[in-house]
Structure formats: C-alpha cells, structure tokens
Amino acid sequence: MRFVFKTSYLQDLGLFRDGIQRNWYVVLLIGLLILPRLVPEYLVDVSLVFIYGLCGLSLMVLAGYTGLVSLGHAAFLGIGAYAHVYFTQDAGLPWMVALILATILTAGVGVLVGLPALRMTGLYLTIATLAFAVIIQEVFTRWDAVTGGLKGKAVNKPLIFGVSFAGDVPFYFLCLAFLVIGLWLTANLLRAPTGRAWVAIRDSEIAAQSMGVSLPMYKTMAFAYSAALMGAAGALFAHKIGFLAPDIFSVLLSIQFLLMVVVGGLGSLHGAVFGAIFVAMLPVAISQARDALPALVGQIAGSTASLLVDRFVKQPGLEPGIFGLILVLFILFEPLGIYGRWTKIKLYFSLFPLYKQATFRRQKTYMRSERLR
C-alpha cells in the first residue's frame, strides 16, 4: 500500500495527489496526442467522446456536485448549437466571438432556468427542468428564422482565425483542447470556495446557509456555469453532426446525459469522462454485437438458436431497452458508477489481501425526515 507523505499544504491544494499521479496523466495526454496516428478511422467517434465529456462535465457540476438534478440539459446543448451556428453563419461573426456569445447566451438561459429553481427542492426541480426542455424544444421548432425549424440547418466546418478545422485530425485536437480546458477550469473551481459551497448545498442546504453560503447566488452560479459548458459543447456538437434539427435535442438525449453521469460515477470529474466514453461507445458496441452475436451463438448452440438470436438483435427499438437495462443494473448494483468500481478495484489491489467486502457499504436512510433537505 502506497503511503502519500505530505510535507506542505500546497500538496493538498494541487490538482494531482503527487508527482506519480501527475505523471500518469501526462502519459495519458501523450497517448491522446498520438492517437490520430494509431486509429485514424475512429477519430470522429473519439471527438464525439470529448464533446460528450464536456456535456457530462456540465451535468456533473450541476447534479453531481451541487445536487440539482436536471432532466433537460439537452436543451442547453441545443441553444449553444443553434446560437453558435446563427452567429457564425447568419451573422457572419468570427468563430471565437460566436462561440463566446453562444456560451454567454446559454449561460443566460441557464440563469433564467435556475431562477424558479431557487425555490424548488429536489424532485420538483427535476420536473421543472424537464418542462423547460420540452418548451425550449418547441421554440426550436417554431422559430424558423433563427433555427430553420423542422427543415433543419446545415452547419459549415469550423474556420478559426482563418485556419480551417474541417479535417478529422484538426477537429479532434480542437475537441481535446476544449475538454482539457473545461476539466482544468472545473477542477480549479472545485478546489476553491465556490466548489466547496456547491458541495455544501448538495449535502445540507441548512448547514450551508448557516455557514454563510448564499443559496440563491450559488445555485444560480451552478446553473450558469453548467449551462456555459453545455453551450460551448453545443458549438462543437453542431460542427460534429453537421446538420441541426430540433428533434435531436429531445428529452431522450437529456436522459442519456443523466445516464452518463450516473454510470460514470456521480460526484467526480473522472465520472464525467468515463460516462462519456461509455455513452458514446455503447451504440458502436451494440451494433458490433448485433453483427457478431448471432454467429457466435450459431457456433455454440446451432443454427436455429442463431436464427432466433439474429431476429431478436436485429429488432429496431432494442437500443433504448439496452440503455435502460444498463442504467437499472448500475443503480441496483453499482451506485457509485464506473469510477466507483475503478476506485474499488484500485483499493482492492492496494490493500491486498486485506480488502473487506463491506468497505463501501453505506448506511441507508429509512426515515422520510432524514431525506428532506
């Protein structure tokens, strides 16, 4: 078991626990930098992972750290996407300016959504964000002049400071840069008073207030920051998918984002990234399995079984079911998500052979009064 020897307060304050952890991340970064050389045909998928990572980060800040669960975050993605496209294409502004404006606009809407939320608790907030998302989706459909309505809107490739980012590789690096910057900014906030105030709001609003945390101000800040991240992600998302339509930013997409943070592991930055990898890669994995599974079953159980399985997996409408099943299984058996499982595995190896099964078992609250916040 490795013991971390601390000699100064700066060590606790830093982003990494010690030099060894920092070196691992440097290795990861180098790996990501040379990835385009290794798997050029999957770069587009990995770019989507980065964009989803930014989305997951946004929702993690709001739901994982501040405890305000939002079922309507896809709407912010849409606002960022449409706003950015409008500013670059219709208004002819430079890319960076358009991006900043889109981010600010989305943050502004975030504040608006957050305002009534200041008075609501837990579940009601979730329902309210759901309602907002449906309304905003309707606005996308009706506001033809800006969004192109149901006809949709084509998106040009990014052109930043005169440099075209149309190719897969430049776009990959663009997305990677955004994700890294997003992670750095968020990590900074989390080790500063703002982040602590957010966590306080999640764990006990009353205690947070009595320690001087202004609930309205910090909840609004959380909404604004979360929406801003989503707005930036929206701009990249627009470029990635190439064609905007209102039904992309549906409640189902919001649920996928929530799935991302739950499966990734609530309350950690790693969770956002793990969740993004999971949600972005799952459709790919499912379609690969769809092709491979019948053949595999045929080898084991014969051709009739293979045909049955083939018919089963080729059904449309199977995908949401699989997402749902995974979500259910994670909540039942691994509430701490992928990052939680990762932490448990690391702990197992570092404590070997002294690891106890009940190390992570938590007390459940059975009284309603204990669950009210």
């Binding site: 900074n188 207030q209 009595s210 320690m211």
Partner: protein
Amino acid sequence: MTLLAAENLAINFGGIRAVDGVSFAVEAGQVFTIIGPNGAGKTTIFNLMSRIYDPSQGRLLFEGEDITGIAPHQIARRGIARTFQNIELFEHATVLHNLLLGRHVHRKSRFVEELLFLPHVRALELAHREAAEKVIDFLDLMPYRDSFVVNLPYGVRKVVELGRALCTEPKLLLLDEPSSGLSVEETEGMAFWIEDIRTLLGITVLMVEHDMSLVSAVSDRVLALNYGRAIALGTAREVQDHPEVVKAYLGG
C-alpha cells in the same frame, strides 16, 4: 456590552405557540445557557436566530442592529455561528473539507479568479488552510483530518461540527445541546473547550443544554423556559432552586 438581545420573541406553528414572548440579553464574553424540558422551544429560538424560521412577533438585535428580517446566509457574516442538535455535517466530504467550508464567510476571491486559480487565490487558500489547522489543533482533530465524516463516530462528529462553527471566527457561538450523545468524559472535555472558547478565543457562547452538571460548570447566566415562556433567569444555582423550574421538571 450587550451582544445579542431578544425582545418579546414569539412564533406560531399553526395553532401551537412554540415561543411566547421570550426576552433575554447576552453580554459579550459570557456563557449564556437556555434550559428547559423537551418541547419548551429552545431549539426553536435557535432556529429563529439562524433565520430558518420567521418570528410572528418580536425582534432580535445583534450588536445593536436589528437582524430580525435578514437572509439566513447573512447571519454568519455578522459573526454568529451555530451547531445543530442532529449534526448537519457534509457527510460525503472529509473533516478538513467541512472545516474549510466554515471559512466561507472569509472568502475574498472572485468567481473568475477562482476559475483560473490565480496565485492570489492560491495564497488565500493557504491562509484558509492555516486557520482551519489552528482549529484542528485546538480541538485535537488531527487523526481525523482526512477521514470522511460518514465514517466517524458520533462524539467526533460533534467536535467537527464545533470546529466548523469556530472556523467562521464568530463573535457569538450558538451551541445546540453540545453534550447530547456524549459520554461523561467527552462531556467534561466539552466543558473545558467551552471554557477555552470563552477565555482564550474571546467568543461569547449561547447554548441550549440538558446536562445540569455542564450547565453549572460553565454558565454565567441561565434562562429557563417552559412551554415557550421564560420562567426564570439568573445564575445556574438561582435558576436550579427556582420553584417554577422545579415544578416544570418534576411536576407538581
């Protein structure tokens, strides 16, 4: 000089008058205790002071200023800190994290500065850490510094809660039943800490307590409540011998 004054405080919960015309004054540097049987309205008065509830009647004055209507998060900024009867700590954070949150009222950095974690913010964070460490030293919380609160025993959690309140560097400390759930030794330790808080740190203490030995040991003045009304005010000895108080506790 009077630090805190309550004038004719009253609050109704539906038909129940939980606090009925209570007035008292707490002098700076004192340890003032409120006692009374269960349901007498002691914690309700604390909640009125923390602005969790709004009084139906009456006023609260702190350092001469009327605080009856201010927002809950302003209370800490004025210099009033409190602990809760049923511990309200941040369960999924470490003890250090909880204490650092107590430093929130002394936050001097802006959002954008924190976003970029400028050197100025780094220096402020180190200062906060120093202050929190002083409280950890004072309360002997060193072995628990990096433990998650959810893993700690009850007695330690109470001390952490006290520590978090001390981190705000308050002028007035509200302690809600500091000895409940503590063993005899832990209660004695708590008595010494309250003494030190009053003498060494110069903080005025207002507490709600049931344990009469603790009350007699540390209090300068005691207020007895029954059914939301004040029935006796004086030193611990005077109040304990007061016939009304005896009747309230023993009946008859």
